[in-house]
Symmetry: C2
Subunit: 276 residues, 2 copies
Amino acid sequence: MTRIQPTRFVFQPVQLVRPCEVVAYRITEAIRAGDVKVGERLPSEQSLSVQLGVSRPTLREAVKLLVHAGVVQVLPGSSGGIFVTSESIPPELCGFPLPDLPLEDIDSVMEARRLFEPHVARLAAIYATPADFERMRDAVRLSTETCAKFKNKKISDDGAQRMTIASTRFNIAVARATQNSMVVQMMEVMLRRMEVVRTLAVRQLPDISQSTKTLSDSLRAIESGDPAQIDAATAARIGLLESAWEMAAGKRLRRRSILQASAVAAGSKKTSAKTT
Amino acid sequence: MTRIQPTRFVFQPVQLVRPCEVVAYRITEAIRAGDVKVGERLPSEQSLSVQLGVSRPTLREAVKLLVHAGVVQVLPGSSGGIFVTSESIPPELCGFPLPDLPLEDIDSVMEARRLFEPHVARLAAIYATPADFERMRDAVRLSTETCAKFKNKKISDDGAQRMTIASTRFNIAVARATQNSMVVQMMEVMLRRMEVVRTLAVRQLPDISQSTKTLSDSLRAIESGDPAQIDAATAARIGLLESAWEMAAGKRLRRRSILQASAVAAGSKKTSAKTT
DNA sequence: TAAAATTTGTACGTATGTATC
DNA sequence: CGATACATACGTACAAATTTT
């Protein structure tokens, strides 16, 4: 009898996550989304550990990670607690729940973004509540203010980070506006991967006010509810980051042109297909 | 001095995952995708533990989970090994890497699917390799054969499972055809959530051959490369599951009509917008 | 018939991290 | 906040089973 050959399939290594890392990640999610701002205080250790369903030592371990990353500060005493000191999250705290993807091919993330984000924005326009619009405006405001501060000066590290935060926060706000938890989860995964690109790319922009403009244009488009406007504004916003990334990386995104071309072709073909 | 109020934001409990659970999940992924078929043997424990980057005891723990779930069978000896015994994965093994989402609102998943899947299919049409098409054909074949077996009979439990497996496998094949790991990961998340719906819904179909037809139509559309055809076929495929689910659940999906209406409106507006 | 090779099965010591008090 | 107890995963080594040579 011939020996049954084992499968030629190869598995990718698993990435293990410790509870305290998951907890730290969850807290950074809230900070990234702008749910807690710089200077504000998080709930007490007691309260947090209950909310997150872990023991207090585990939560303390998580906080230690955040302190070490410079994201929060812990003060003792009766009016003390865990205070947010920075809204930019170091990449070390971003890589946990999404293994499997080689960091090199940022192409996949960019392409996926171009594929999904316009439709997320369209859906957001349908379901956004006043609170959602307020979050979006908040993000745009942050971007505008940061931009004004560096009007005629070179952008500083801190300024670049703020611009990144504003963009990320805007994206999260849009995703949440869909009122669809599945969509939010998927966008979260993509945004984490994009953050690194963002900080690297924003320094390459000849004029950071462009970034602010794409944000406010997107906001106006979503408020208008017109799909064509939304698509155009979203495409412009994505395109800006892509260009900046290409300059920073010194090479073109492999698939950028193909996807854009197909999108255009599909648009014109859609209406003419039946006539042939 | 007034006390700084802690944030009113509430955190969701974290869900801890053990390494053996992650490993078990990863193996089921390969089975679900059809990389290993029933009766075939997986690599040896030694090889698997190296590939997956875990110790052999941990891998054995994972295998134990799979054996208990009836997915694999372990035989000792020189020609022994880990053999696949079933291609339908119990839901217990499906829920690990995706916490946070209440199982009830299947609406979110369906809506997200309708939002993303057509564009994934379009991209697949651009990048699919012969191997990808072979995987798709494989899935269609399974569906066709199962369908033929229950030509004039009522569908059995086993038959319903096979139809589910075929649909899932087709979807994974399409996602992989995009050659975009980000897209694959996102689709994986969605498909896991959909599986439960699939098995429940497929029994409600008055004629299961409809399901097979939507698959082969989608395959033909992707082979043709015509975006309009792809959109139509994908919409039909999604629509069938949605209808079946509505019958099974006894209520309409909340947002189904809204999303479809907006998609149509956007399609017609897109081409006429610039002419005004 | 017997020995060799391959693969699963079992066990122990260590280290790390989490939970309880 | 600290200390102790417990659970879990790892690495290694060896034993048992079965087929091939």
